[in-house]
């Protein structure tokens, strides 16, 4: 029992519960299935992006280019349908995913082969990917796709089940929630039950030891960034379908929300520590905060401040706990 309380996740879980209670006391309609499913539908794409960011963080790196990959994947995915005239959502998903893998591979190339630090690389690709898309659009005199093909629109509307209550409110569980759950579970399984997954965690814990043990660091890095790119592409397409509006200027600039969520969930900036569950709870808390603060008429800038404060506090708490741990087990530290 004690072990459960040692885990980070239990604390943020209680924070989440506390938040839900507080907000429900302000607004009773918050605590309804309809609302929760709604939040899930609108923010599943963020959850997927968070899982990707978490995976990179776990390996000891940091990837801020995911929003750009999502946008490029989204645009090219939809545009392919328009170009080819094929109105098939699976093609769009496939293309978005492949674009994500390709862009992720570019990240991996700079990080793994040219050994450029991860933050610097992905800051660069963040600008480069979006910039590349914008340049192409300008050259071909296109901007937004305000009228995406019906398969895209239907994708956004697709519900696994739909219930209309007597009062006339609609409770529907969107397919997006299902995709989010799928990626969360898949990533969890990879991390817990495959050698590759454990190697990722090991790398984040002690990169030098991983090298000495003969891990194929390059191969692992390619996997990480391509996998994260794939998820980002899919998430981007989900985002576009939901809005029914494909705008290349969207998404990029909102990285901080995702980063806050992952860090809040207990992942360490240093790498090697954190969990999928924590990330999911972190995303939930950030989503609840973001949507409810609006409810309670809190201005936009204040929301940004809150997000920023959360990042600082979460990172400080993680760092402080690590410091205490180091002090407790120090015997005679001689290098």
């Amino acid at each position: 029992m004690r072990k459960i309380f040692k885990q980070n996740e239990i604390y943020i879980f209680f924070i989440m519960i506390a938040l839900i209670i507080i907000i429900t006391s302000f607004n009773r309609s918050f605590f309804t299935l309809e609302n929760f499913f709604d939040l899930l539908k609108g923010h599943s794409y963020e959850g997927i992006l968070a899982i990707g960011f978490f995976l990179v963080l776990l390996s000891g790196g940091i990837d801020v280019s995911f929003t750009a990959i999502a946008v490029v994947g989204m645009y090219i995915g939809v545009y392919t349908l328009i170009l080819t005239g094929l109105n098939n959502i699976f093609i769009a998903l496939l293309v978005a995913g492949l674009v994500g893998i390709l862009l992720g591979a570019i990240n991996a190339l700079f990080i793994g082969v040219f050994k450029i630090p991860t933050l610097i690389t992905t800051l660069g690709t963040l600008s480069a990917f979006q910039g590349g898309l914008m340049s192409y659009l300008q050259a071909t005199k296109q901007t937004v796709i305000s009228d995406p093909p019906t398969s895209i629109v239907n994708f956004g509307k697709f519900a696994i089940f739909r219930i209309v209550t007597a009062k006339g409110s609609v409770i529907e569980l969107s397919i997006f929630g299902f995709i989010f759950a799928f990626f969360a579970i898949l990533t969890w399984v990879i991390l817990k039950y495959t050698t590759l997954g454990r190697s990722i965690k090991a790398m984040g814990g002690n990169r030098e030891a991983a090298k000495r043990a003969g891990f194929n660091i390059l191969r692992i890095q390619f996997f990480i960034y391509c996998y994260v790119g794939f998820m980002a592409g899919i998430a981007g397409l989900m985002f576009g379908s939901y809005l029914r509006y494909i705008d290349p200027l969207n998404l990029v600039g909102n990285e901080l929300t995702i980063i806050a969520a992952v860090v809040l969930g207990g992942a360490s900036i240093m790498g090697g520590r954190g969990s999928i569950i924590g990330t999911v709870i972190g995303v939930s808390i950030i989503t609840i905060l973001n949507t409810s603060l609006v409810f309670m008429k809190v201005p936009q800038y204040f929301q940004q401040a809150v997000i920023g404060a959360i990042i600082v506090i979460s990172v400080s708490i993680t760092a402080y706990r690590q410091k205490r741990k180091d002090r407790e087990t120090r015997v005679l530290d001689v290098a």
Binding site: K192, Y193, T195, S199, E208, A213, G214, R273, V331, D333
Partner: protein
């Protein structure tokens, strides 16, 4: 049992201008405990890297298990059963004990999936064979250094090791833990596994090894059975000089009666209790005691880093309150910290900068640093202390441990201390530098400086001080002249009635 596990002949390796190894031979037999000794820079780590396949020699032959290797790489070496445990252990702190033990093996065997039951079973099997009750689910970062070492050994064993190479395994261990490690090593020997270990602690070398190989300046100067050597001979082979261990005699007469430093009722909760001590000019006061006895806490309190709850401090008979190290330095107190790497040096900065740090303010004229004058004085300082380096502009991390410590000592000497406290000044340092530092300290004392030396090694304390204080649980339990007692008797006083050693020591 004269089966050769590994035999290297005529190994030479050059790094730029430095001939790291020069025609070195080494043979290790099955079930043999072989010790590799040598000063810093003698070529020990290079030899280890060549045996483990991480580096390749310029010339020479390597035979492992009877097979001749023209080019040996790390994977071949591992496959032949050679496992290296580096000083930093190279474990994954964020993973469990069980995982650390079995992860590398799974990767070697190219297994794609983790069977957690198997991981646990393998870990438990190895831990049992070592005889230590460590929970395989614990995270490595929660373990003590000694236990982490055991995990590293278990990991080496899962690869069916024939030869385990340990690089300075005892540096961070307490006496009890060292004994435990030796038991484990003897067990390995009984199972037919050979052990090659590098150590600076000559006393341990004699306890545990069957054979001792000595390197000096890249050449092998000898390979002896442990019985054939004694401390003196060993030191002679290692350094090429006869280092006679003389005893320090306090030369300055105590006629003034006023102590340089006096503490009255110094107390700090959880650190030390009711400390009364006097330090006179020209003497070396040794403070010994077990880990956790409060010695370093007392030292840092005198230096202003660890303010006491109550008590008085007098310098030259005048009461003084020291709130921070800056004030301590102004009163002429200098402190050499326990951990030179993180507390004594700016590890990436040049030697020159490290040496100038305290005295820099003395060289400022109209806001600018008088670089030339500073440089001249620093060079003299470095020469006086025999710091071996091709250039003062190299980063201090390029120096050997012994020379690094000399830099820290020099830095403080430059500040002209009246009272110099040294905490573990020769920990992890080779024999030659150790002797140099002892001589430096004695010279300082003979110039009238009052010295306090905190040491874990009773022989070091006995030989380099004229008076000794024994601390236990934060109190001074005994004070004696170092003339009046033998090593055995002093050892007994130190370890008298200690409780069973806990695995984690909270500081």
């Amino acid at each position: 049992m004269n089966e050769e596990i590994i035999s290297v002949k005529n190994i030479s390796k050059r790094f730029g201008a430095v001939q790291a190894l020069d025609n070195v031979d080494l043979v290790i037999n099955k079930g043999e405990i072989h010790c590799l000794v040598g000063e810093n820079g003698s070529g020990k780590s290079t030899l280890i890297k060549i045996i483990s396949g991480v580096e390749s020699p310029d010339s020479g032959d390597i035979s492992i298990n009877g097979k001749l290797y023209k080019k040996l790489n790390a994977i071949d070496s591992m496959r032949e059963g050679i496992q290296v445990i580096y000083q930093d252990l190279a474990l994954f702190p964020n993973l469990s004990v069980g995982e650390n033990i079995s992860l590398n093996q799974r990767i070697e065997k190219k297994e794609k999936f983790i069977n957690w039951r198997e991981v646990r079973d393998i870990a438990e099997k190895e831990l049992k064979s070592i005889g230590k009750a460590i929970n395989p689910d614990d995270l490595v970062e929660d373990l003590s250094v000694a236990n982490r070492q055991i995990v590293a050994i278990c990991r080496a064993l899962t690869h069916e090791a024939k030869l385990i190479i340990m690089d300075e395994p005892t540096t961070a261990l307490t006496k009890n833990e060292v004994e435990n490690l030796f038991k484990i090593i003897l067990d390995l020997k009984a199972q037919g596994i050979s052990v090659l270990f590098i150590s600076h602690k000559l006393s341990e070398v004699f306890i545990i090894s069957d054979k001792i190989a000595i390197l000096r300046d890249g050449k092998k100067v000898g390979d002896f059975k442990a019985e054939e050597l004694d401390n003196e001979k060993l030191v002679f082979y290692m350094t090429g000089k006869k280092l006679v261990a003389t005893k320090f005699k306090c030369e300055i007469k105590q006629d003034s009666g006023k102590p340089l430093l006096e503490l009255k009722n110094f107390t700090k909760k959880g650190n030390f209790l009711d400390i009364n001590l006097k330090l006179y000019s020209g003497e070396i006061l040794g403070i010994i005691g077990l880990l956790g006895s409060g010695r370093s806490e007392l030292a840092t309190a005198i230096f202003g880093l660890n303010k006491p709850d109550s008590g008085e401090l007098f310098i030259d008979g005048e009461k003084v309150v020291i709130d921070n190290p800056g004030e301590a330095i102004e009163h002429g107190i200098c402190y050499l910290p326990e951990d030179r790497l993180s507390e004594g040096l700016f590890i990436e900065k040049e030697i020159e900068e490290n040496l100038s740090v305290i005295i820099l303010k003395n060289y400022i004229k109209s806001g600018l640093i008088q670089r030339k004058k500073l440089r001249t004085d620093i060079e003299k300082l470095s020469k006086d202390l025999n710091i071996k380096t091709p250039s003062l502009e190299l980063p201090v991390q390029s120096l050997s441990g012994g020379n690094q410590q000399k830099v820290v000592v020099a830095k403080w000497i430059a500040a002209n201390p009246k009272i110099f406290i040294l905490d573990g000044p020769t920990v992890g340092i080779d024999v030659g530098s150790k002797s140099d530092i002892h001589q430096i300290i004695r010279n300082l004392a003979n110039k009238g400086i009052g010295i306090i030396i905190i040491s874990d090694e009773i022989p070091e304390a006995l030989q380099n001080s004229n008076r000794i204080l024994v601390m236990r649980h934060g109190r001074i339990v005994k004070e004696l002249e170092s003339d009046c007692i033998t090593e055995e008797e002093l050892n007994k006083i130190v370890i008298e009635s200690i409780p069973k050693q806990p695995e984690k020591v909270s500081i």
